[in-house]
Amino acid sequence: MAVAPDRELKKGNAELLILALLEDQARHGYEIGKLIAERSEGVLRFHVASLYPLLYRLERRGWVTGEWEPAGGRRRRYYRLTQTGRKILGKQRSRWRAFSAAVNRIVEVRHA
């Protein structure tokens, strides 16, 4: 059974999730939402009403760029990481790894 993650925890890492999904290839909004749900096996579900404002915010900051491209007989807006976005992703990922490792060391290890 999937445990619903804490809302604040999800909110604080939403940028990291999106940047990570865009690291290898460009994706459109619908795909990003689906991938988050699929890869987290349903634990993380991104509310669509929050996804698009977040994408536009990242775009305004210059971390991603959006471009209209044809896809499946229609055009979709694909988002790509910029150089700045890639640096930010690196920093956020390092921070996340350090944070999760620290939490794991406390939560998972039983001290004698």
Binding site: Y30, H47, R57, R61, T84, K87
Partner: protein
């Protein structure tokens, strides 16, 4: 297939994005809906259900609209594009703003705001600060021009100094125009010790000639002739009998006091002054019971210490001496003269005069009672004893039954008024700012500062509805006391029906040193500092909101 773009466009309403960005956003959201719809259909649900599922992704379109704009533009949705309940596009905010203005414009609210103790606006017993020089000059000019005696008499009564040439001239003119106003001479001749060199005697003589049956002018004369706190009389201050003896031997004091005690009536002209003050204030459009109440503080009252000196002369020096010498009738005459004077003095509505009367009655009755009993005149003694027993204790709570509860209620009203007035002031300022901002944003939306103004105006939309609540609290708090001065017929009515809330206000706002030092001297500088700080904060916010070329990844 539903027209998703049309649906999104209708749901979002106006989305003031530029450069075609609005259409892009609508298209992208439409694709999201369409993809979800197609996926639902693929899972075998009906078209209707698929459409419902798809639309369920966006529950709060107004919130989405705000967030989309904020994400794209990095700023709040313009206030004129907001659809909140109290946004300027909708009627409620203007309704509550109009109601607030209406409520505050009502005479009840205006009077409530006017009587609140504000630094620099505290009426004081000297009277001069109650009316500004400009106001007095205006009344004087109006009285001069129209040859209106009562306006000039008002100037004479309430000018800052008794020796002020303006007050004297106004009094002369007023009496010349209407000799019935000669009683204002009492004011011109009163308390002369405050202004050395001023000769009050012409005024006293005029008053004596005009009202010879009144004890008051004679008391003023005795007061003006002999100042018991000054040399040579002050050397006897330690011994009451010393002062008394010297006064008794001083004809300039003794003769007018004899006449005062013998006069058939005592009138301090308080009724006349009340009527004149009330009329003048109404004519000047100053319908304020607090000002009328404070105007009464300038009313002349004789030095009651002189009365007690004269009482002692009658009771001890004359009465007791005659009693010891066996001249009973002479002693009784002296004692009864005090009682009769006390009777006349007690008829005055002034509390201080009634207090003095009470003491005179008590002292004189005790002397009479002892003498009558010693002479075996039991019947007469019994009557005097009854009169002595019937004398009220001069206690405000006994004099005014139920007054403590009146005071308690008034204090509660005062608290409500002060607290709500603070909120009215703060929220009124906030509502005024909000109004200015939304007007500027409506007509000058392209100003460079429009983003900052919009950012400030958005949270200020709470001010108009809150202002209405604060205005209602102020109105209801003061409503039981709201009356026109035309409805008061004496200072007594003012004192009992209005003064409790006025005094309650001063009690509530009495903060000791805070009041004396901070409120009196630092209030307005603090307000100015707060305004400067606010402007500074606004500038900082504006600078902060500007893009930073050195930080391309800045949020």
């Amino acid at each position: 297939m539903p027209d998703w773009k049309k649906i999104v466009r209708e749901k979002l309403g106006t989305l003031p994005l530029t450069n075609g960005r609005r259409d892009e956003v609508i298209e992208e959201l439409a694709q999201q809906l369409e993809s979800a719809y197609e996926e639902a259909l693929a899972h075998g649900v009906s078209e209707q259900q698929a459409m419902r599922r798809s639309l369920a992704q966006f529950k709060d379109w107004e919130k989405l609209r705000r967030e989309l704009f904020h994400s794209v533009e990095g700023a709040r949705l313009p206030v004129w594009e907001q659809n909140g309940f109290f946004s300027p596009r909708r009627l409620p905010v203007w309704t509550v703003l109009g109601l607030s203005a209406l409520l505050l414009a009502l005479p009840v609210s205006r009077q409530a705001l006017e009587i609140l103790p504000v630094p620099g606006g505290y009426p004081n017993p000297k009277g001069s600060q109650m009316f500004s020089e400009a106001a007095l000059r205006r009344i004087e000019q109006s009285g001069d021009k129209q040859k209106y005696a009562r306006a000039l008499a008002f100037i004479a009564l309430h000018s800052s100094k008794e020796d002020d040439p303006r007050a004297v001239q106004a009094a002369e003119k007023a009496i010349a125009l209407d000799p019935q106003l000669t009683w204002i001479s009492a004011k011109m001749s009163h308390a002369t010790y405050l202004y050395p060199g001023y000769d009050p005697h012409p005024w006293i003589e005029r008053l004596k000639a005009w009202d010879p049956q009144n004890a008051f002018p004679y008391m003023l004369e005795a007061d003006a002739n002999v100042h018991w706190w000054e040399p040579p009389w002050s050397q006897f201050r330690g011994a009451s009998s010393g002062v008394r003896g010297n006064f008794a031997a001083e004809p300039r004091w003794r003769i007018p006091m004899d006449k005062a005690f013998a006069a058939p009536r005592i009138d301090f002209y308080d009724v006349q002054q009340f009527a004149l003050d009330r009329q003048a204030l109404l004519e000047q459009g100053l319908d304020r019971p607090d000002v009328l109440f404070a105007a009464g503080w300038s009313q002349p009252v004789p030095d009651l210490q002189l009365i007690t000196f004269y009482e002692d002369i009658q009771l001890q020096d004359i009465g007791e001496t005659a009693e010891k010498a066996g001249r009973t009738d002479e002693a009784l005459t002296a004692y009864w003269s005090v009682v009769r004077f006390a009777d006349r003095l007690g008829a005055s509505p002034l509390d201080i005069a009634r207090f003095c009367s009470n003491r005179l009655h008590r002292d004189a009755y005790k002397h009479i009672l002892a003498l009558l009993r010693s002479k075996g005149r039991a019947d007469e003694a019994g009557m005097v004893d009854s009169a002595l027993s019937a004398l009220p204790r001069f206690d405000y709570s006994l004099e005014r039954p139920g007054y403590p509860s009146v005071e308690a209620t008034a204090t509660r009203s005062a608290w409500v008024m002060v607290v709500s007035a603070v909120f009215v002031a703060l929220l009124g300022a906030a509502a005024a700012l909000w109004l200015v901002f939304v007007i500027v944003l409506k007509w000058k939306a392209d100003l460079g500062v429009s983003r900052l103004l919009n950012r400030l105006a958005s949270p200020l939309c709470f001010a108009p509805p809150s202002l209405l609540l604060a205005s209602m609290a102020l109105f209801l708090g003061f409503y039981p006391y709201a009356r026109s001065i035309a409805q008061f017929h004496s200072y007594k009515e003012l004192e009992y029906g209005y003064a409790p809330v006025l005094m309650g206000l001063y009690d509530v706002t009495r903060f000791g040193n805070l009041n004396d030092v901070w409120l009196l001297h630092m209030f307005w500088p603090t307000v100015w500092c707060a305004l400067v700080a606010l402007v500074g904060a606004c500038v900082l916010a504006w600078v902060h909101s500007r893009p930073r070329p050195d930080r391309p990844d800045a949020t």
